[in-house]
Structures are given as C-alpha cells and as structure tokens.
Amino acid sequence: MDQPALTSRFTLAYAYKRSLGPVIGAFMTGLRDRRILGARTADGRVIVPARAYDPASGEPTGDLVEVGPSGVIETVSHVAQPSPTDPVQVPFAWALIRLDGADTSFLHVVEGSAEALHRGLRVTARWRAERDGSLRDIEAFVP
C-alpha cells in the first residue's frame, strides 16, 4: 500500500497594481526624482515615509518636508548570506535609519559587513539609475 505521494508544483501569482493617493503618490514621485519626503504632523513632528495620517493620533498630516538623503543608523540587523529575494546580493544589514530632518526612522537596507555597520553610523542613499517611483528607487544606503 506504500505508494509514493502524489505531489504537484503549483504557483499562485497576481499582477496587482496599487493606486497611491495624494500623499503616498507625492512620496513615490519624490523617490523617482531623488528626494525623500516626510509629512509634518499636527504636533510638529516629521514622519518618514510621508503618510496621509499620523499613526500615533489618526490626525491628518500637513506639509510635505524633504528629509535626508543622509541619516544615522538607529537599529541594525546584519545578514551575512543574502537570499535571492533580498534587495542586494552582497553582505548587508536591514536597518532603521533616522534621516536628517526626520523624527521617525525609515526601514531600508545598508550595504556593508557586520564589522563596518553599527548603530550611530552615518549613511546616505545610493539611487538607482532607472527609477519608477518605488522604495527600490533607492538601491541601498551606504556609509
């Protein structure tokens, strides 16, 4: 009765397109134009990425403010062996980065070894040549 299991490869794929709205649209347009935008909240903080509403209070945000493109690593998690789905294929770290002019931190990747990258290090965005308005328009941050 021991017959091999019947298995089958199966792929689920969806070609979603998302509309962005005025604030996230402006943020993505900014990335395409090599600018990182934050949004000013009712209590005067600048949150990055720009959002239409302040996650802390639910209040609408106001003016868009250009921040970065440099900042300081706030929290870092090193990846010695990148997987094929990771944004870069060299040793790197996932990092929360406090961009100059921002009051919140921003998740992206920083290229470099575990020895080279640490909390408090200043890093700056390296832009992709071909940009279309997405977080991947920043290839990575670098020291």
Partner: protein, 368 residues
C-alpha cells in the same frame, strides 16, 4: 454581559514536517494523527488527511468533550488563511468537516482561530444563540510560509523590499539589546527552556537537544537572531466549543489591540498593544500564561508588557518548538483551558499576528 464557558476542546497535535537543521536528538519520525477510522481510531500521517478531515477530527472531538452534538450548535466560526496551503477557497471546502448541509450560521476570519473565538464570543453576547463551534486549521508545510507571512506587510513601504519575518524580528531583538534590556544569551535561554518544556508536553510531538552554551556558536541569520530563535512551523488543527452560561472554564475577558505597522513610529522594545489588550481583558496576574511566540525575544517583551514571571509562562513549551500558523493562538486558549481544568484559578492565553508583535489578543480564563 453573558458569561461564556470553554466547554469542549479538540486538537490534532502540531506536526513539524520540515525539521529545522538545528534540531538534533530524539528521532524525528513523521508524526501521526489519530482519527476516526472505519473500525475505530486509525493512525495516519498528516499528509494523508485533507483539510475537511482535519476539521472533522477536531470538531467532533471538541463536541464530544463538551457533551454536545452538532444539532446544538447555533454559530460556527473558523480561522484559516488559504495562502498557507495554496488552495484558493480551501476554507469553503473545509466546511464539509463540520457538516455544511443543511445551511449553518457561519463566519470565517482570515486570521488565527483565536480571532474566530473572539468573534464567536461577541456573537454569543447577542443572546439569541447559546453554543458556538470555533475551529482553525493550517498546513504550512505545503507553501513558502515566510513569504506568505510577508504578504501581511505594508504594500507601499515594506513589501517592495521583501524583508523576511526574521529580518524584522532581528531589528526588534537588536533594539532590545541596544536598550540594555536583553542579551543574545537571554534569547538562547528562552529557546532552550521552550524545547525542554515541549519534550514533556503531551501534545507537542517534537523535541530537540539544544545545548544552551553552544547555541551562541551558530551563525546569525539576521543578527542577533539565529535559526533556532524562530519558531519552527508545523501543520495542525484545533477546535473549541463555547457555551453561554455553560460548564467548564469561563472567559473572564477577551480583548484585542494593534500597534502601527510602521516600525519607525513605535518603540520596538515594548508592546503597548499587548499591555492594553491585557488590561481590557481584565488585567492582573494570572497563575499561568500561554503565549504565542514567533521569535524568542517576543517572550521577554510580552513578559514585561503582561507583568509575568518567567516561571508562569508556557509550561507546555509554547509555540517556539512548533508554531501552526492560524492555529497556534487557538491552541493557546486550549492549553489555558486545560490549566484551569487542572486546578489553576486563572490562566492567560495570548495570540499574535502581524510582524514584530503588531497585533495582540489576550483571553483570560477563570475557574467556573
């Protein structure tokens, strides 16, 4: 408010089918599940059963445990996520397992079964229905579980970068280390303790010999976390029968809170949502707590947020040795139920969803 009791429980033990590389020690045979066969109970491998059969096994057991029949059930609520098994509308087909004809009053949440239990509890408060049947099932072994969990991420600001769950948990863990609240040795101790406890637990079919002082020699996957800091995924199913003004452990309170997904706007070293949910559910110190952990540092954050001594937490080993996505939270409620049945006066069950403990559901059970 109607007092709702957990009158019956049923579950298939978690079956870890993709054995983690660090797990050495006792044999890792293909686990087996005992289900109703043509001539009494039969032992089958998890792969042999379809989702409806898994649901049938646990719901029939829970109803028998409650001393009720299908005809007594006024409302059915289930939790599952079709992306885990890669079978669109599997939750509709799984309904065969409870008998979907004649039509039932039924609902489904694309969440852990603990959230289905929450909906059922709310439904019982309406007053027109007295018995609710809650179930959950998960077959993470069929799909790319990490990638499925990443679909929960913010589609604009997180998903395009594709951080795996361990990367986000790594940032949370590093935030704890940077704040001086924990060390890598603390994380290893959480993992070692969980596997030790699981080895003695009736329902956890896995064990591993993790030597605590050697665990830190393994390379980090996303520093400071190593492979063993992540829960190993399993297949399983569970069911609970809730009865208003019934018998058995009673739900003193149940509440759910959520933190913003944007990590940059919240303090990763604490869980405000878990603290709020605990307070809303009734607060105070339980005699025992069953937590839903995806990563070891979450134990330290939750212990602090819920005000728990280490000794009270996860005597069953919890979910680090075997986490059944969509089922683990409901299994925490079952474990807490069994603690109360065994003599505990008050037990806490926790369920999390989303990255970095974003969502927290707390249920407090008390002796009837």
């Amino acid at each position: 408010m109607r007092r709702v009791h957990v009158q019956g429980v049923g579950r298939l033990p978690p079956a870890v089918r993709n054995v983690p590389s660090y797990a050495t020690g006792p044999a890792w045979d293909e686990p087996q599940w005992s289900v109703a066969g043509p001539d009494g109970p039969e032992l089958l491998t998890p792969a042999a059963l379809d989702e409806a059969e898994m649901v049938q096994a646990v719901t029939a057991a829970a109803l028998a445990d409650a001393g009720l029949s299908r005809d007594d059930v006024g409302f059915i609520c289930s939790g599952s996520n079709d992306y885990h098994q890669g079978r669109p509308f599997s939750f509709v087909m799984a309904l065969d397992g409870v008998g979907c004809w004649p039509p039932k009053r039924e609902s489904h949440v694309e969440m852990d079964g603990a959230f289905a239990l929450y909906e059922a509890w709310v439904r019982l408060q309406h007053g027109d229905v007295d018995v609710a049947l809650v179930y959950a099932y998960g077959r993470s072994s069929l799909g790319p579980t990490d990638e499925v969990l990443s679909l929960q991420l913010d589609p604009y600001f997180l998903a395009p970068l594709g951080p795996p769950p361990i990367a986000l948990a790594g940032l949370q863990a590093q935030a704890l280390v940077d704040a001086g609240l924990a060390t890598e040795a603390d994380f290893a101790a959480v993992v070692a303790r969980a596997w030790r406890a699981a080895a003695d637990d009736l329902y956890t079919s896995v064990s591993a010999e993790l030597v605590e002082d050697r665990m830190l020699l393994h390379p980090a996957v996303a520093s400071p976390l190593r492979a063993h800091d992540q829960a190993s995924f399993a297949d399983g199913a569970a069911a609970v029968v809730l009865v208003a003004e019934g018998a058995g452990p009673a739900i003193e309170g149940i509440a759910h809170c959520i933190d913003p997904m944007d990590f940059g706007t919240r303090d990763l070293t604490t869980s405000r949502s878990a603290r709020l949910a605990h307070a809303a559910a009734g607060g105070g110190i339980p005699e025992v707590a069953e937590l839903h952990l995806r990563f070891s540092p979450e134990a330290l954050i939750l212990r602090d947020a819920l005000g728990l001594e280490e000794a009270l937490v996860d005597p069953t080993g919890g979910t680090l040795p075997s986490d059944v996505p969509m089922v683990s939270g409901l299994t925490r409620v079952i474990a807490a139920t069994e603690h109360v049945r065994g003599g505990a006066g008050r037990a806490l069950a926790h369920c999390t969803a989303g990255p970095c403990l974003q969502q927290n559901l707390v249920t407090l059970l008390v002796a009837p």
